[in-house]
């Protein structure tokens, strides 16, 4: 057989949860193999077993037909297996080179010799077109570049079997295209690739074969050319998925939020990240902010929510000024926020799920009395959200957030924010890392918020999402709003031009403000 890797009958339990239940996964040499499945289906777990992060409870792994034991990532490295994790594992304050050689350092008499490594990195970079500055600090480079660092890290260790865990969740569309090209190149060179993703279009575009997992079980492996997007989606979630969103016409009401001439000077980057931005959101509409990452969307949201202080400008919620209100005041007045970075802001990873679900409301009478926490009430509340939003985890309300799958962590945040029923919901990349079924569900929830007369500000790097959901689209480029568009009359192409800065219109002032 020409399988490089065979994982036969793999079982892995976390307590009573069967994360992998007799899964068989076979990787051919030189192929791109997609691994798809719902959130919590066990994809990351399966690949972590292959990479030696977890030991399988049952089953065996064969490498070129020979049975092997992979006890830790070092064993995996020896077998030339490399992995890019769902959440990157880089050291912020180290340079790119230092991160790449970490754990695999060249030393001379106990001293680090970086020169050769640096040369090798530059060679690899040029050969695969993975542009990064080897001397930049990781904290100063964009997420897309960080991913290239992770890829270079695998290549530096001469990996032949490359595992990508949701590599595109954090990338811009351009970066995704580049990554897909790179991956095809790897395959052409004879490397074997596993890619975990929720974006089925990518699967169709790049993969030769794909394997579907559902609830820990292997549903099947097939050639991508023999299948279709719809069929894949159905196999994943076990029901038909509605890809087109049926959206009722918007019932636009009074203005709920207004930003006037907002600017933010970013001291770390020494530039004006948000430059005189004005806009408003009405009740009953979804306003989408499109833009390539790093054009000020993150900073704009941070100053609205109060995570950072604006340099200039004013905010109004229901005509009340909230410019200088504390974060708690803003939340109480009706702001909701699905944050961009779920690990940094959205969750206390070491708390269990139920405690994460009350992060903003623990002090309300529902959950406390005289300062004492009402454990039962919290538990009941958590159970409700878990069943309504289908949050899956090994231990239910008591699961530690850190142990939950990426998509389910995201669902927990969304459940919390939507349940607070805010008048203005700011949703930043709300469906990042979610499976198609969950995306459909979240989109419906966002639309329901809108239809019940709330305002939604949707910030997303994904144009599809913006186009499908928004009633109005704002495009940000270089800290400014460069276009205000109607999704019914605009096109992907036009938005793309604005996003890349090749087209600009004089719309910096809000129509109303």
């Amino acid at each position: 057989m020409d399988y490089v890797i065979e994982m036969l009958d793999i079982c892995k339990n976390f307590g009573t949860l069967k994360a992998n239940d007799h899964v068989t996964f076979q990787l051919k040499k030189g192929e791109v193999h997609a691994l798809v499945g719902e959130n919590g289906a066990g994809k990351s777990t399966l690949m972590s077993i292959l990479f030696g992060l977890y030991g399988a409870d049952e089953g065996e792994i064969r490498y070129n037909g020979k049975k092997v034991e992979i006890r830790n990532p070092n064993d995996a490295n020896r077998l030339k297996i490399g992995m890019v994790h769902q959440h990157f594992k880089l050291v912020d304050v180290f340079t790119v080179t230092e991160n790449i050689i970490l754990g695999n350092e060249d030393t001379k008499l106990g001293f680090l010799v970086k020169q050769n490594s640096r040369k090798k990195i530059i060679e690899l970079r040029d050969r695969y077109g993975l542009f990064v500055d080897p001397d930049a600090l990781v904290k100063d480079i964009s997420v897309g570049m960080q991913q290239r660092v992770e890829i270079l890290k695998m290549l530096y260790r001469d990996a032949d079997i490359l595992i990508f865990d949701e590599p595109t969740a954090v990338l811009t569309p351009q970066e995704i295209d580049e990554l897909m090209l790179t991956i095809r190149n790897f395959a052409k060179e004879g490397k074997s690739i596993v890619i975990i993703t929720h974006k089925l279009a990518e699967v169709m575009a790049v993969a030769d074969r794909c394997t579907v997992l559902r609830k820990g079980k292997c549903i099947g492996t097939m050639e991508t050319k023999d299948t279709s997007l719809e069929q894949l989606a159905e196999m994943m979630v076990g029901r038909k998925i509605n890809f087109s969103i049926d959206k009722k016409p918007a019932q636009i009401g009074k203005e709920v939020f207004r930003a006037e001439h907002v600017s933010f000077f970013n001291k770390e980057k020494n530039r004006l990240s948000v430059n005189d931005v004005s806009f408003h959101v009405n009740r009953g509409e979804i306003v989408g902010i499109a833009g390539i990452e790093g054009n000020g969307q993150t900073e704009l949201v941070n100053v609205i929510t109060g995570l950072r202080k604006q340099t200039a400008g004013k905010f109004f919620l229901h005509e009340n000024e909230i410019t200088y209100a504390s974060i708690r005041k803003k939340l109480e007045k009706g702001l909701g926020h699905i944050p961009e970075d779920r690990h940094k802001h959205g969750l206390v990873l070491d708390f269990d799920l139920q405690n994460n679900l009350i992060l903003e409301s623990y002090y309300l009478p529902d959950f406390q009395k005289f300062g004492f926490i009402k454990k039962d009430a919290i538990h009941r509340f958590a159970e409700q959200l878990i069943s309504k939003f289908d949050i899956r985890s090994a231990g239910g309300a008591e699961s530690i957030a850190r142990s939950m799958s990426g998509g389910n962590q995201q669902k927990a945040i969304i459940a919390r924010e939507i349940t607070r029923n805010p008048d203005l919901l700011i949703a930043v990349q709300p469906t990042r890392g979610l499976d198609v079924g969950a995306i459909e569900f979240i989109h419906q929830e966002l639309l329901e918020q809108r239809d019940s007369g709330k305002g939604v500000l949707l910030v997303s790097l994904e144009l599809d999402e913006i186009m499908d959901l928004s009633d109005r689209i704002l495009v940000m480029y270089d800290g400014k709003i460069v276009a205000r568009l109607d999704p019914k009359t605009t096109s992907f192409h036009e938005i793309g031009l604005y996003m890349s800065g090749s087209k600009q219109s004089e719309v910096n002032a809000d129509e109303r403000a």
Partner: protein, 431 residues
């Protein structure tokens, strides 16, 4: 022929029997394994595993050291006056607080009280994401405040000592408040500020003892009705109304044990409730795990930093008050002695918090353990060992528990390895 058949039968039977016992053993093994796994995965116990391990390793190390000393003396590498008695030494050490029955138990509990309180101080701060290395300073000013109130005021018994306790808590709180303020307003790291505050606390206390009229005097009779007095290098003691009552002392051999341990245990319960049952604990823990997320959720992180520090300071200050509110206790006007007697209690708090995984109940146990081992150390002279061996052992334990994460990983890896080994055997059995 018959013999041959019989032989075959026996062979078949024995193979069967062997297989049956093997599968039975396997089942039993699995069941035991499962039970053990369940036991170990109980979250509280599980996180305490490294502590128990370090204690075990520390003790083994200590006993090993004692053995080596014993050997070296036997082989005449050292010349000593009194030969160490290995077995007696080990017994004395391990008997700890039980060496002299109730009397030594009482002394151990007396010793444990301030240790538990400073442990709580550091542990609580840890839980909220702060490293309170300022416990020594907070403790010393707590002692000073309690002493001042205990000397300068004339009050009836319960009110007097209660007021002293409050004074100690207040002083510790103020000391820690300054650190919290610096951190939340000027973003000065609490460790830096705390270390400075520790020095200030010590010299301020020296100054206060000398200048606020609480320095001890010793007087010599130089004639009829004539006394010549001069200043002693230490402080006075608290008035008897301000000394902690010794309610239980009778029972514990009529000495030393006061209600300090009761106060400490009350503090343990209170801290447990605050941490696990209140919204205050909830938000402080949230900030401890992820300050950014707590900010995102609308919690007032600046206020919370100050609040955590103040609570931690109160606990350390209370520890200081408990330590000084004893009828014969004095503070010495000398750096070395001050450090050894009072400041070190604060530093012990760090070790205890580590060993007790910052959980109030763990801290209570760790504090008692430290007192137990030190008590055992005191009895080791009887076996001609130095009592400092107890300190060696505790230091080793602390080192191990500081390395506990690594240790724990190492053990899990070992476990995993064993599992794969077992699996290999199983495989060969089937083939």
């Amino acid at each position: 022929m018959k013999g041959h058949e019989l032989w075959n039968k026996i062979k078949a039977f024995s193979v069967k029997a062997a297989k049956a016992t093997w599968s039975f053993l396997k089942k039993v093994g699995l069941a035991c394994g499962h039970g053990l796994k369940k036991f170990f995965t109980g979250s509280g116990f599980r996180s305490a595993v490294p502590s128990f391990l370090s204690i075990g390793l520390g003790l083994v190390f200590g006993i090993f050291t004692m053995f080596i000393i014993w050997l070296l003396v036997r082989w005449k590498v050292f010349d000593v006056v009194n030969d160490p008695k290995f077995f007696l030494g080990v017994t004395k050490l391990l008997m700890g607080g039980f060496n002299q029955g109730m009397y030594s138990v009482g002394y151990m509990l007396y010793r444990a009280a301030p240790l538990i309180l400073t442990g709580l101080s550091v542990g609580f701060a840890f839980k909220t994401g702060l490293f309170n290395i300022g416990a020594p300073g907070q403790l010393v000013v707590g002692s000073l405040a309690a002493l001042l109130v205990g000397v300068k005021l004339q009050l009836a018994a319960p009110w007097h000592w209660m007021l002293c306790l409050l004074a100690g808590m207040a002083a510790g709180a103020i000391w820690a408040f300054i650190v919290g303020l610096f951190k939340s307003v000027f973003n000065v790291h609490e460790v830096v500020a705390s270390i400075m505050m520790n020095y200030i606390a010590m010299y301020f206390t020296f100054w206060a003892i000398e200048n606020l009229g609480i320095q001890n005097q010793f007087c010599i009779r130089t004639g009829p009705n004539r006394w010549t007095c001069s200043l002693a290098p230490n402080s006075v003691t608290v008035l008897s109304t301000a000394a902690l009552p010794k309610g239980l002392a009778e029972f514990f051999g009529g000495y030393s044990l006061n209600i300090g341990i009761v106060i400490a245990l009350i503090a343990v319960v209170v801290m447990y409730i605050i941490l696990h049952k209140t919204t205050l604990g909830y938000q402080l823990k949230a900030a401890g795990f992820n300050r950014e997320a707590s900010r995102y959720a609308g919690m007032n992180t600046k206020r919370n930093i100050i609040l955590s520090m103040v609570i931690a300071g109160m606990l350390a200050g209370l520890g200081g008050a408990v330590a000084i509110m004893v009828s014969d206790k004095r503070m010495f006007l000398e750096e070395g002695l001050m450090s050894a007697e009072f400041m070190s209690l604060g530093f012990d708090g760090i070790s205890i918090a580590l060993l007790g995984i910052s959980e109030p109940i763990g801290i209570a146990l760790a504090g008692l353990f430290l007192a137990f081992i030190r008590q055992g150390g005191d009895y080791m002279d009887l076996a001609n060992y130095m009592k400092e061996l107890a300190d060696v052992i505790t230091s080793v334990i602390i080192y191990f528990s500081a390395l506990s994460v690594v240790l724990y990983q190492w053990i899990s890896k070992r476990k995993a390895k064993k599992k794969t080994l077992l699996k290999g055997e199983e495989g060969s059995d089937e083939r």
